[in-house]
Symmetry: C2
Subunit: 114 residues, 2 copies
């Protein structure tokens, strides 16, 4: 479910906005209500709710409503999925460089086959 391309797309899209990253940052220090999330942001509560809905749709944030207050938390599994996507590509690149280095060392060749 978390490695599904559509979900990955929603996550990166969610992380693309500075206000949403600021919300994630705030939530990384502990749960918060919608108003608490909104407080440091220079925009209406309504705008914050819209951002929050995207964050929730992406899976990065989970919320639950008790009475009139919606409490938000980070979903670490989702963060890990985004991290993983990047990590895989970086490692693929670095492994390739390593193999290339080994090859050049073994053959004493100094050309690259690209």
């Amino acid at each position: 479910m978390l490695h599904d391309p559509a979900q990955i797309d929603l996550m990166f899209q969610a992380l693309a906005d500075p206000a949403r990253r600021q919300m994630v940052d705030r939530l990384s220090r502990g749960p918060a209500s919608v108003s608490q999330l909104a407080e440091p942001l220079a925009m209406s509560l309504s705008a914050v709710v819209q951002h929050l809905n995207l964050l929730e749709a992406s899976g990065l944030v989970r919320t639950q409503k008790l009475g009139r207050v919606r409490t938000c938390q980070i979903e670490p599994k989702a963060l890990r999925a985004a991290e993983h996507w990047i990590n895989e590509r970086r490692l693929a690149w670095e492994r390739r460089l390593d193999r290339l280095g080994d090859f050049l060392a073994e053959t004493g060749d100094d050309t690259e086959g690209n």
Copy 2:
């Protein structure tokens, strides 16, 4: 330079688009020319160049032109910076959970402050 918020913003914005992620994915398997990057994508060369320029501005991709062909490579440092941003937030959250768990175990309390 890489942890500068403006650069982080450009990176996440760059990663938000599926076509650009596909290009990064392709480049993780090795360097490629603009046309090679364009080949699997259902859009004009021109559109690909525009995506590529964003990727380069974000620092995720480095390019160099030799003759008439522009060769593109991944910049692993930049990928690492994006990875790092996510990782820091996730770890902050998980450390907080750990501390909370320790506290509850020590006091024998079974309520959680959420």
